[in-house]
């Protein structure tokens, strides 16, 4: 190891930051994370190389159970539809389907992935603003639940259904205003303007599709429960209106996703582990809003949740290796890591919780974490108090299970391997590290270049 260290480093003055103003400061008490569910990170790195995404089956299953219990003890019928785009690794999806999760997909590709994972097509919620005619054809043949996003799609869906001679059940995606959350008006039919009601009337007039559900998704990473209460209430009142005026009783109300995980947004002051509401609080708020439903307690619609991030974020960890130490001109220390924002896409959004994998010594000082890319944007973590690290030592980023292994990109480096640590301490690959053949395999050479 010592061979790697520079022979001499010019001394710098470091201001003692022990006991910083922030009462949640981790600097003084930074504890290393040496293992994942009993398996040392070093062993995982030996087996699969660095950098490495490592998922905890135990955390995933326990988080699923917490979510399910929180809602199922409060509402008679609850369905969790796993949001594929959050993480569509087969292993992760299948673990969740084994727990009883349905699938929520937003493209033909995700649809096929869900089918490949053994999800019955009638247990797929098909969302998204850009379904093709072929997508709708496939979904209607398979008896999947299509969520309509706009009038053009409604018309297309009717054409496809008429051609197939079927009467499929569909849901309407709505957008609505809640206090404190900017409305996502680009998806679905607007509730307040009356567009949603027009869509219902249009659907009834078409007499081809059956309205079986209402869906809204108020946003993403919403660390408050109030907006959910409002959204649930608005959906419930709209469902009451449909019953009273049009005799339509929907099978399900879909509150979408958007629950905050334990990450901390860049603009957030309190750490996510403290600020994010528990599933129980979200459940309490949503069920409270649904109490506005004017239906017999025994015939309450199924409550559908499309939770993605809050289910899987905590289960994922990214283990990286320090490539180099640097001293920036302003005196800050910088670490160059072997994993960058091409792998950890969420580094753009969050102040990720990151700790060393071995006990640390030395005085923490302001440190910025960079990735390996030769790009200015490749900053893994803004400045934080961090103990001194040597090249070859490892760091682990927590709460990285959501959106990274789907939104990552092959850019400059290969995408890293992903492994799973099982509930009994066993571990295995979920996805191997990319190779040149994987990347270049799709390429074609025009004959004249040859």
């Amino acid at each position: 190891m010592n061979d790697l260290l520079p022979a001499y480093e010019r001394p710098v003055l470091v201001r003692h930051a022990r006991g910083a103003m922030n009462k949640f400061s981790r600097a003084a008490s930074m504890q290393p994370a040496t293992e994942l569910d009993g398996v040392p990170y070093d062993r995982l790195l030996e087996a699969y190389g660095s950098p490495l995404f490592a998922f905890s089956e135990r955390t995933l299953v326990q988080t699923y159970r917490q979510l399910e219990d929180a809602f199922a003890t409060r509402w008679p019928r609850v369905r969790i539809a796993w949001s594929y785009k959050t993480n569509y690794l087969d292993g992760i999806c299948r673990l969740l389907h084994q727990q009883g999760a349905w699938a929520e997909v937003v493209s033909g590709f995700e649809y096929d992935k869900a089918v490949r994972n053994g999800v019955p097509e009638s247990r797929i919620h098909f969302n998204g603003p850009a379904k093709s005619e072929a997508d709708l054809d496939k979904a209607f043949r398979g008896d999947a639940i299509v969520h309509l996003d706009h009038f053009d799609e409604l018309a297309l869906a009717e054409r496809v259904a008429r051609r197939l001679g079927v009467r499929p059940g569909v849901a309407l995606r709505l957008n609505l205003a809640t206090d404190g959350v900017p409305a996502w008006t680009r998806f679905g039919f607007n509730l307040e303007s009356g567009e949603a009601l027009s869509a219902v009337r249009r659907l009834i007039a078409g007499d081809v599709l059956q309205l079986v559900g209402l869906h809204c998704h108020i946003g993403t990473f919403i660390p408050e429960v109030g907006p959910y209460q409002q959204a649930a209430r608005k959906l419930a009142l709209f469902a009451n209106l449909l019953r009273a005026d049009h005799g339509i009783t929907v099978d399900f109300l879909d509150l979408g996703g958007g629950f905050a995980s334990h990450n901390t947004l860049k603009a957030q002051y309190l750490p996510g582990t403290e600020a994010s509401p528990t599933f129980a609080r979200y459940a309490e708020a949503i069920v409270d809003g649904l109490e506005a439903l004017d239906v017999d307690p025994l015939e309450r619609p199924t409550l559908v949740l499309e939770t993605g991030r809050a289910l899987v974020d905590d289960a994922g960890h990214l283990v990286t290796t320090v490539v180099a130490n640097k001293r920036l001109p302003d005196g800050r220390r910088a670490l160059v890591l072997d994993a960058g924002v091409n792998s950890l896409f969420t580094a753009f959004w969050y102040k990720h919780d990151v700790v060393p994998t071995a006990p640390v010594h030395g005085i923490p000082e302001p440190t910025i974490l960079y990735g390996p890319l030769c790009m200015n944007i490749d900053c893994m973590r803004d400045t934080l108090q961090f103990p001194p690290m040597s090249p070859g030592e490892h760091l682990v980023f927590h709460h990285v299970g959501a959106y990274n292994v789907t939104q990552w990109m092959q850019f400059i480096t290969y995408r890293p391997a992903v492994c799973l640590v099982g509930q009994d301490g066993q571990h295995a690959l979920l996805r191997r590290r990319e190779t040149l053949d994987d990347v270049a395999g799709c390429e074609e050479l025009p004959a004249w270049i040859g």
């Binding site: 326990q62 003890t73 609850v78 019955p120 009638s122 001679g165 528990t278 025994l298």
Partner: protein, 726 residues
């Protein structure tokens, strides 16, 4: 009697007559089988004059009942015919053909039918008792009186006079004497009919004859041949009636039958001198008296068990036995109501029946429930406040339909660790579910009650929220069943029904569960799309191609509702019928009647019970009556001893899986053959339009039924018919 054995068939008049007449014969042996009736006709024809008069009498009875406009199905059951039959046989035995005989026969038949109708109205409606042969006991002595009074020569039928049966044939003669043909040959045919009807009944009848013979030996030479014969058939009938017809055959029912036999013997021997002095034969009077008294006496028991009265569809003793055992194995026997879990989601039993802390003494039959997190703890955070507990504030539901009779609110929640021993039940709700069946849900959150006393609630309706009031050191839900209404009265047997027990590796639907500490329970969580597949559309025919050996037969099955709201699948070609219920997320077959070739027998075996739970991995156990899956000779050999063998159902383990969009139900019996292969294996596939294929393998013989009216290639397995229509 009952109309269960009937299945739709041709409704021609000749068919009606044949059914009414043959069943009239069969009724005398408590049977509804046409075959048994036919054998008995043969038995009576051993003395042609007697047999022919009897036939004239049942034909006449059919004519009278039909002319009077009685309910055709009751006429077909033979109810109005069997008393007339006995009267007719008796007249045939006494009078030679001629005008007096015709006059007496016509009058007696009319009287028998009218008397049967009148007594049936009185007895069955007010006392729930059968008519038996009371009309015969009134009419026939009157006929005798007329014959004696008018001085018509009572010329016994030729065969009757000559008959001097050797002693060892006496029991057979007694059987024949029941039909006024006291010949050993006739008795033999009657015995054959009895064996065809029921092997258990045969054993019981034989037991009766032994008792009768023993009684004759006891009394010594005091009993004439007449009295011995009367004694024989009376005692035998009592044994069959008590031992297998009105009670489920068992050791206990045999004891009751023997007791009844002793009573009947006492009555016969005791009344014989009187009857001799009056010149009126005893006939079947001892049987009628013993049965009516016995049934009424047995109904005064507080608990209907050992022997269990037949309170369901009436059939043969074998059917009673297997139906009862199957019913107990499938559904338990303590309550008429089905109690579901009083909560949403998965809760864990933290104190069961005979629990160590409070479920003792008069309150032993109770269970406490809490919600445990994935870490196994009932709380999150510190667990210092009631709000930290997962179960706190969760909705508490009615376990079954009923009326709220008692609500207590306003008792404060205790701090964690403290108990309130004054208002020890805390806030509570008592719901009455039926006469003598109440449920108590206790320790609820103050101010959370959403029902009032007197309010009618349905199963699953919220009553209040889980709290920690009363003797409750930490939030939990206490449930008990009581026979009385006051909160905190003594408990009665604790059971939950049709709940899902959650295990690490499986979700299991359990018919009847008494939760133990650590058991994780939830209610069925119905997936409506699965439930729809399990609920046949009423009136929509389903056509199956059913394999029979190497060829296939087309059979059409139509789901129907009967007058009483029970649902049936009826086979159009074979007349078989399957009784089922599709409700609350459970598809349950109760019974299947008729031809064993029908697809409905495959349906019953493959889809005996299916939960429409939202988890595809759900497994469950069900019990089928073993009898139908045994070869006939084995079945008949086992029948006589089956009442003493205890429950011998076929335990089937089922699981539900998916193959793409198909729901697949697979079953296998616990019992295996010598090579370890399950004796019965089943597989059913259900598409969006319902059942697509049924495969049942019994002892290696595979039978398959495939839906013919569904085009599996069209989207959503659309029915061909609908597609053509659109």
């Amino acid at each position: 009697m009952d109309r269960v054995g009937e299945t739709p068939g041709t409704r021609g008049v000749l068919d009606d007559i044949a059914q009414a007449c043959l069943r009239s014969y069969a009724q005398i042996l408590f049977s509804r089988s046409l075959g048994v009736g036919g054998l008995l006709v043969l038995a009576t024809l051993v003395v042609p004059r007697v047999g022919l008069t009897g036939m004239l009498a049942v034909l006449g009875a059919w004519g009278v009942a039909t002319a009077l406009g009685y309910d055709p199905s009751t006429v077909r059951s033979g109810l109005y015919g069997y008393n007339a039959l006995l009267v007719g046989l008796g007249i045939g035995a006494l009078l030679a053909p001629g005008p007096p005989m015709v006059f007496v026969l016509v009058a007696a038949v009319v009287a028998s039918v009218a008397l049967t109708a009148a007594l049936h109205a009185l007895l069955s409606v007010h006392l729930r008792l059968p008519v038996y042969t009371l009309p015969f006991l009134v009419v026939f002595p009157a006929v005798l009186g007329v014959i004696h009074g008018a001085g018509w020569t009572a010329s016994a039928a030729p065969a009757l006079v000559a008959d001097v049966a050797p002693n060892w044939l006496a029991p057979l003669s007694a059987l024949g004497a029941l039909f006024f043909v006291p010949q050993a040959e006739a008795g033999l045919v009657v015995l054959a009919a009895l064996v065809v009807h029921s092997r258990i009944a045969t054993v019981l009848g034989a037991l009766g004859l032994v008792v009768a013979q023993a009684a004759v030996v006891l009394v010594g030479s005091g009993a004439s041949t007449d009295v011995a014969q009367t004694l024989g058939f009376n005692v035998a009938l009592v044994c069959v009636g008590l031992g297998g017809v009105w009670f489920v055959p068992s050791t206990a029912s045999f004891v009751v039958a023997l007791a009844g036999a002793a009573v009947a013997a006492l009555l016969t021997l005791g009344l014989a001198p009187l009857s001799a002095r009056l010149g009126v034969p005893l006939l079947v009077l001892p049987f009628n008296v013993t049965m009516l008294v016995g049934l009424l006496a047995m109904r005064q028991r507080v608990r209907d068990g050992a022997p269990k009265a037949v309170d369901f569809l009436v059939g043969t003793p074998e059917q009673h036995l297997h139906h009862h055992h199957t019913r107990v194995a499938r559904f338990g026997s303590d309550y008429l109501q089905r109690f579901r879990a009083p909560f949403h989601g998965v809760w864990t039993c933290t104190q069961g029946v005979d629990g160590p802390t409070t479920h003792q003494g008069p309150w032993a039959q109770a269970a406490d429930f809490e919600v445990l997190g994935p870490d196994g703890l009932p709380y999150a955070g510190e667990g210092a406040r009631v709000e930290d507990f997962h179960c706190y504030g969760m909705p508490v539901l009615a376990v079954a339909d009923g009326t709220v009779v008692h609500v207590v609110d306003g008792v404060a929640d205790n701090p964690v660790g403290a108990v309130d021993t004054v208002a020890n039940w805390g806030n509570l709700v008592v719901v009455q579910h039926g006469p003598g069946v109440y449920s108590l849900l206790a320790h609820l959150q103050p101010g959370s009650m959403v029902v009032k006393a007197g309010q009618v609630v349905r199963r699953g309706e919220p009553l209040g929220r889980c709290g920690s009031s009363g003797r409750s050191p930490r939030p939990h839900l206490h449930l008990q069943l009581q026979a009385t209404a006051r909160p905190g009265d003594a408990t009665i047997a604790f059971q939950l029904h049709d709940v899902v027990t959650v295990h690490a590796d499986r979700q299991e639907l359990v018919g009847t569960v008494v939760p133990a500490v650590g058991d994780r329970l939830r209610n069925l969580h119905v997936d409506t799309s699965v439930a729809r597949r399990l609920d046949p559309v009423l009136g929509e025919p389903m056509t199956f191609s059913v394999s029979h050996g190497d060829h296939a037969v087309t059979e059409t099955v139509v789901p129907e509702l009967d007058l009483l709201g029970a649902s049936w699948l009826r086979s159009q070609e074979l007349g078989a019928a399957l009784s089922y219920l599709a409700r609350d997320g459970l598809f349950t077959v109760y019974d299947v009647l008729g031809s064993s070739a029908s697809v409905l027998h495959l349906w019953r075996t493959a889809l005996s019970r299916v939960p429409a739970d939202h988890r595809d991995e759900v497994v469950w156990t069900d019990h089928l009556p073993l009898r139908g899956y045994l070869p006939a000779p084995v079945r008949w050999l086992l029948d006589p001893i089956s009442p003493f063998l205890g429950p011998r159902g076929l335990t089937m383990r089922y699981r539900r899986t998916r193959e793409g969009n198909l729901v697949v139900v697979q079953g296998r019996s616990d019992t295996t053959d010598r090579r370890g292969v399950p004796r019965v294996q089943t597989r059913a596939t259900l598409g969006p339009e319902g059942v697509r294929q049924l495969s049942v393998s019994v002892g290696g013989t595979l039978r398959v039924a495939v839906r013919e009216d569904v085009d599996a290639r069209t989207p959503q397995g659309q029915s061909v018919r609908t597609r053509e229509a659109s």
